[in-house]
Amino acid sequence: MQVDKGPQPIGPKFTPPKDKFFGLRVRVHRKKSIALGILGGFIFFAIWEIAHYMMPEAKQRFLPSVEHVIATVYYLLAEKGFIYDIAKSCYRIFVSFFSASAIAIPLGIGMGCFANLRATINPSVSGFRYLPAASFIPLLLVWFGPTDMAKMGLLFIGVIFFLISLILDSTDAVPIELTEASLTMGASPRQVVLGVIAPAAAPAILDSMRNMIAVGWTYLVIAEIVGANDGIGAVMMRAGRFLHVDIIMAGIFTIGILGVLTDSLFRLVSRLAFGWNIPQRG
């Protein structure tokens, strides 16, 4: 039976130049991308491992091996109730971060939409960004004592001002034509802000949040230094006093893993909620 095979190429098979590792701005296939990422991680751990074994035996405890750190994480989880500390740290990060977001999102969008509001608030917010969050520790301790409130306050102060600025920028970046088109269709300011500008800026806002929660994680240890007896940071500080480098590194390792998980969670939400914003591959 004759099968129509479509157009048949008659030219000789063309052999393009071989792929190079430093191909300029080439597209990397997803599988290759994952493989390269694993390779990169492997190289990092290999360097760490080599450094450990190259040290004189007496000093090896100051840089424990990879497997020792992982074993320590397991030990902390199994024997020391580390899962409770992790939960406590996550709780502090998420509560403080989402309260900061609850204020920063309406404020940032509002400032991006209304020039007068922006002129009123922006100079103060910009100034606050330059104040190191750690400098608020004494103040927070005086106000709240060694409570959860003080720790979450620090995390809150650490992210909110940057968050407002980033959300303002995301709102600013919404093309003016979307606003003007809605206005010529008779939309009220309220309908434009909530129905057009907010959804248009939403993917960029979520992206800013993803970046700022990473900053939140970096403040965690500082926040938990102060009179905390639970949380990942507190565990690490306690270990530091007894030169338990393996526990300190287990803490760092755990924060790293939690950071990667948080990042993936935000990416997943972004992909599910804002599919329209993902450029079509092909």
Partner: protein, 281 residues
Amino acid sequence: MIKMEIASNTAENTDNMSPNKKTVPVQAENITKQYGGSSFTAVDNISFELKENQITCFVGPSGCGKTVTLRLIAGLEYPTYGTLTVYGKQVMGPGPDRGMIFQAYTSFPWLNALDNVAYGLKIMGVPKAQREEKAREFLKLVHLEKFENYIPRDMSGGMKQRVAIARTLAQNPELLLMDEPFGALDAQVRWEMQEMMIEIIERDKKTVVTVTHDIGEAIYLADRIVFFTRQPGKIKADIELDFKKGKRFPRKEDLICHPGYAEMEARLFAMMREEIHGKPS
């Protein structure tokens, strides 16, 4: 709706002093638009009157104030001096009685074609079932009936612009304003869109103002061309395209073969050259 309001406004006046003002779609008297205090004059003392069911094209070099004038009619900006009325009412802001199409794509990227077209109707408070039915009707008008579930990401530039046109027309505006609507499209799509616009305007009998610097587009679409000159923005010439004898042409090549077309094109090119290089000595 707006027309009724106007009727009641003039009824109070009782006399027939300004019977034509009621029906004049746009009347501009000595409009001046300045920016930065009075440091830059974009539009300098222009006056014109647009006629019902006419397609008027604002043509001119970049920076001649044609887009500013269109934006003044839309109510997106206000004149610094002069009076500007739309169907007898002073323009005090944008509204759905004046639908506007922009050069940039303004379809909402998070809505599919159907919801985009229905958006304007939603703003007007049309119930869901009715606005979807109406949106489908207008998607059909712009030949997108098979694409109602497409989101702008998956559309070509021409499709996005069709969605924007359908969305604007679905609100049934009295005036259709277009600011270089096909400027971002490639030549073949632009030509398709021009023919589609003629088809739509003929069907709906709209009063249209369109801004372009494409002379071919202006002659094809317009019943009348208002030619702007720059620095400062003034009206250089007001040309009724009489050679068309009141006809509109569904196919562009029929117009190009029409007696008078070549002369009109030559005239406009000469005017544009004069604008760019100054008068030949």
